[in-house]
């Protein structure tokens, strides 16, 4: 079942990290409103393979159900496109109109270098996690789970922070390319929970230091990160991160 929408795409093409890159325009006829945005790219890529003139457009994606965080795309100036609270893979063409021109770019941030076309390198996030995004508990060390009661409100708030999918939309949305929402989400999850207390201070310091070392910018409280977050992580995690970091600094830890 193909549809009847005609879409014009202006897509960023860049052969590799060192290539300068440019926009290319593609007409995509017969788009169904039930297609996801990435399925429209599948259709276009299928055509590019058939024509054999240029290689298909590279983009990151995997689960296509909004949870793995692998898909990205800056669509008409917004990370993950026009709808609130969804990833690109969950964006459907019914959100667009016949005849629309859609501009598609990769995440733009110094700490996320372009690998090819729309795919970027987000390994900086992994390195921030390695610096302190964990509770140091070896396998086998745990006590019975119910020996540690945790109030429902606290558990729910920690869970809300923990739903971050690490996609990088917050960085892409920020004019300073700050990663404070990403770091704040992980720091908040553990700062809220009793399990996270022993390493609370060093965690905040280590993650922030690594974030700075990776070249992410400073936070100037514009709130674009939270507004564009597909999981709607609240700005309060940044406030908490600031408190945690300053508290740790003052303690000289």
């Amino acid at each position: 079942m193909s549809g009847n929408m005609n879409i014009t795409l202006k897509v960023w093409r860049q052969k590799n990290t060192s290539d300068k890159g440019r926009f290319e325009t593609y007409q995509v006829p017969g788009v169904s409103p039930d297609m996801s945005f990435l399925e429209m790219f599948d259709v276009l890529n299928e055509r590019l393979v058939a024509e054999g003139k240029e290689v298909p457009i590279a983009f990151d994606h995997d689960c296509r159900e909004g949870i793995c965080g692998m898909c990205s795309l800056f669509i008409n100036g917004r990370p993950h496109g026009p709808n609130d609270g969804v990833t690109t893979c969950q964006l459907h063409m019914r959100s667009f109109k016949d005849g629309d021109v859609i501009v598609v770019e990769p995440w733009r941030a110094a700490a996320f270098p372009v690998i090819k076309d729309l795919a970027v390198d987000r390994s900086s996030f992994d390195r921030i996690m390695s610096a302190g995004g964990f509770i140091s508990v070896n396998t086998g060390n745990a006590q019975d789970a119910n020996n540690l009661p945790i109030g429902k409100e606290i558990a729910d708030e920690a869970f809300e922070a923990a739903t971050c999918i690490g996609c990088g939309a917050c960085v892409a949305a920020c004019k300073n390319s700050s990663a404070m929402l990403f770091v704040g989400a992980k720091v908040s999850q553990f700062a809220l929970l009793p399990q996270g207390q022993p390493e609370r201070k060093q965690r905040a310091l280590a993650m922030v230091n690594q974030m700075d070392a990776e070249g992410f910018g400073a936070c100037t409280n514009t709130g674009a990160c939270s507004a564009e977050c597909p999981k709607e992580i609240p700005l309060t995690v940044i406030a908490r991160l600031n408190r945690e970091y300053l508290g740790a600094e003052f303690c000289g830890k």
Partner: protein, 669 residues
């Protein structure tokens, strides 16, 4: 008789004592020697990440490979509903034995008793470990962990974190892994795909991997190699798996000697969003946990079904007495919570009979209206002291509870279908979800190739012919956190004198050359059709002839069709770009080439198994009521296939002995 080539290495002793005794007596490797032993792990999902973290904590040198851009993306992340554990926190009669029993019965008596009992034993430790890591499971107001029910059980033993349990568990394991990466105990290779294993003197000693960014082939040595690479559901093209999920790691190992166990056991999940059109790239699951509160039905009258399909009738207008809650009707004891294979077949049966409710006729309703109003709405009204609530009030109060429990799933449904499930019943249909089959492993999780292990969905071991809901997360983490750290000692304790082998060894050179040749061959075809074109056609053959229902004639046809399709692929596929760059088309081509071989083996396995069991339903073998009919005299064994060449396999059998459970016809009535 079990084939002499299959030694399951099940320890002696009573079922309850086997694991306790074994892990207390299995040989150990001392800490100094661990530092010189290298372990390669392929895949970073629950099994891979938990194994990598745990083994690195013990002091082994670990390398982890994943094809995604980060270990955190592995498809375990998408698991929704929960993880089982025999904690008996609900005081409802759960125990290690009951989880063991439910799993064996749910698997239709086609799993190994000793492995399943061990799984049930360690299940409780998993929850403890995850909570210690800061995994924010759902809790009750008193601060204790909450549980929900899943299919195939009559107790509440499923721990959960809203509809994102897999995400939270994987992020827990990923955090533990990144901690080891940070201190240099694990070396991480993201955006790398394993394309072959390397065997030296009969033992697995390493892998060939392709750096997906540069296209460079790399050789990596390991004293042991762990495949934690997930299942092969994407052989059907459309499935709930991630786009990149593939069989390549397991298949390359199979072609280098590892036996493939029960390849035909595929799980078709009953509650997925139906196919909407040809453009569809994947199917989306709606968690089994929804069956706690959703009731499955189709219209009782075929004319109503027709009117709905034609858009003349709204399902909300169909009266209660004109609805057929077919699972509650057929299986009163378990109702909507029958195991997945049974729920899927029942949906297919109703749709085949003409009662389907969407345009294609392939959908049934999953309806929350009743429980929203009369379960949660009433409960909330009572709590709030509202004595004579109107139906509107009940709906409003109940909807808030439903939102808290399943909000993200309802949102996802609306995103994909454009229909609001708070106002209309969901439409669902079965879809390929999980593969119980996988590499044959012994009690130590080692394949028949010494030094090569398979964990999680990649192995065949614990779920028999049908996996119960919320048991995949349990198995992946059990294998990685609590089984492999012990059982590796049985092998590695005898490897402490083996020095790291140079990757200039001829076996590495040869393996890399073969991988390079396959890549060159793919480009050389330079045909006219895309990789996806072939993948879609393969998927259709598999779904039509080796899907929810199979028969001998169809399977024979499928084998011929797959052979022809494979031939066509190698004559007419077009792979664009070149090998020395980031090239997703080449990645897909390598994976589909393997699916085209696996599909044939799945059909061959399904054809040889002249019985129905669990997810394997042969139309020729069913009871009068349409239930699966096993043949325990002839088929109470695990089938392990040895690769002998193209389209040529030898079958080895491992007899399954049931000494602690009386083997019986599965009944959920």
């Amino acid at each position: 008789m079990t084939s002499p080539k299959l030694d399951s290495k099940i320890p002696e002793g009573s079922l309850e004592q086997k694991w306790t005794k074994y892990r207390s007596t299995v040989p150990l490797v001392n800490p100094a020697n661990k530092r010189s032993l290298e372990i390669i792990i392929v895949g970073s999902g629950l099994a891979g990440a938990s194994a990598a973290a745990s083994l690195a904590e013990l002091g082994y040198k670990v390398k982890v490979f994943c094809f995604q851009d980060s270990a955190r993306r592995a498809h375990s992340i998408a698991a929704q509903g929960g993880i089982n554990a025999a904690k008996n926190y609900q005081n409802d009669g759960d125990s290690t034995y009951r989880l063991f029993y439910d799993t064996i019965k749910g698997g239709d008596y086609r799993a190994r008793e000793a492995n399943v009992y061990r799984l049930a034993e360690v299940s409780a430790n998993i929850i403890d470990q995850c909570v210690a890591q800061g995994v924010p499971f759902a809790r009750e107001y008193g601060g204790m962990l909450d549980n929900r029910s899943f299919g195939g059980t009559q107790v509440k033993r499923t721990f959960y974190a809203a509809g994102q349990t897999g995400q939270q568990l994987l992020l827990g394991a990923y955090s533990a892994l990144q901690r080891q990466v940070g201190i240099g105990a694990v070396e991480m290779f993201a955006r790398h795909e394993m394309l072959d294993i390397v065997n030296i003197d009969g033992k697995c000693r390493g892998i060939i991997a392709r750096d997906l960014v540069t296209g460079k082939l790399e050789r990596h040595f390991g004293h042991a190699v762990l495949l934690c690479s997930g299942g092969y559901g994407n052989v059907f093209y459309l499935s709930t798996n991630a786009m990149g999920s593939n069989v390549t790691a397991a298949w390359k190992a199979h072609k280098k000697g590892a036996f493939f166990g029960n390849p035909c056991y595929t799980q078709i999940h009953p509650t997925c969003i139906p196919v909407s059109g040809d453009h569809q790239s994947k199917l989306t699951l709606m968690s089994e946990s929804l069956r706690n509160d959703g009731r499955i039905w189709v219209p009782k009258n075929i004319d109503d079904a027709k009117a709905i399909r034609e858009g003349r009738l709204n399902p909300n207008d169909i009266k209660e007495e004109d609805r057929d809650y077919y699972l509650e009707r057929r299986y009163p004891a378990f109702g909507n919570l029958v195991p997945r294979d049974i729920a899927s077949r029942a949906a297919k049966e109703r749709c085949d009979a003409g009662y389907g409710v969407n345009a294609t006729g392939e959908a049934v309703y999953l309806d929350f209206a009743y429980n929203t109003k009369f379960k949660y709405g009433k409960m909330e009204a009572t709590k709030k002291g509202i004595h004579n609530p109107t139906e509107e009030q009940l709906k409003e109060l109940g909807t808030a509870v439903i939102k808290e429990q399943y909000g993200n799933l309802f949102d996802m449904y609306k995103q994909i279908t454009g229909v609001d499930p708070y106002e209309n019943p969901m439409m669902i249909y079965p879809a390929v979800h999980y593969t119980m089959g996988g590499l044959w492993v012994d009690y130590n999780l080692m394949t028949n190739v010494p030094g090569l292990y398979a964990l999680g969905e990649a192995n065949f071991s614990d779920h028999g012919a049908n996996r119960l809901g919320a048991s995949a997360l349990m198995q992946g983490l059990a294998d990685g956190y609590f089984v492999i750290p012990y059982t590796m000692g049985a092998y590695l304790s005898s490897e402490i004198r083996t020095k790291a082998i140079s990757t200039d060894h001829e076996a590495f050179v040869e393996a890399e050359k073969n991988v390079q040749e396959q890549i060159d061959k793919l480009f050389a075809v330079n045909g006219t059709k895309s990789v996806d074109h072939f993948h879609k056609r393969l998927g259709k053959i598999m779904w039509d002839k080796c899907g929810m229902a199979r028969n001998a004639q169809g399977l024979q046809q499928a084998i011929t069709e797959i052979q022809q399709l494979r031939e066509e692929f190698w004559k007419d596929v077009r792979v664009t770009g070149d090998a020395n760059e980031f090239n997703p088309e080449l990645e897909k081509a390598c994976r589909v080439a393997d699916f085209l071989e696996l599909g044939e083996l799945m059909c061959k396995d399904a054809l040889h198994r002249n019985e129905s069991c669990g997810g394997h339903f042969r139309e020729e073998y069913q009871t009068e009521e349409g239930e699966a009919m096993r043949d325990d005299n002839a088929f109470a064994y695990a089938a392990a296939w040895e690769f002998k060449g193209v389209s040529n396999w030898e079958l080895h059998k491992e007899d399954l002995k049931f000494e602690n459970i009386k083997i019986a016809q599965r009944s959920y009535k």
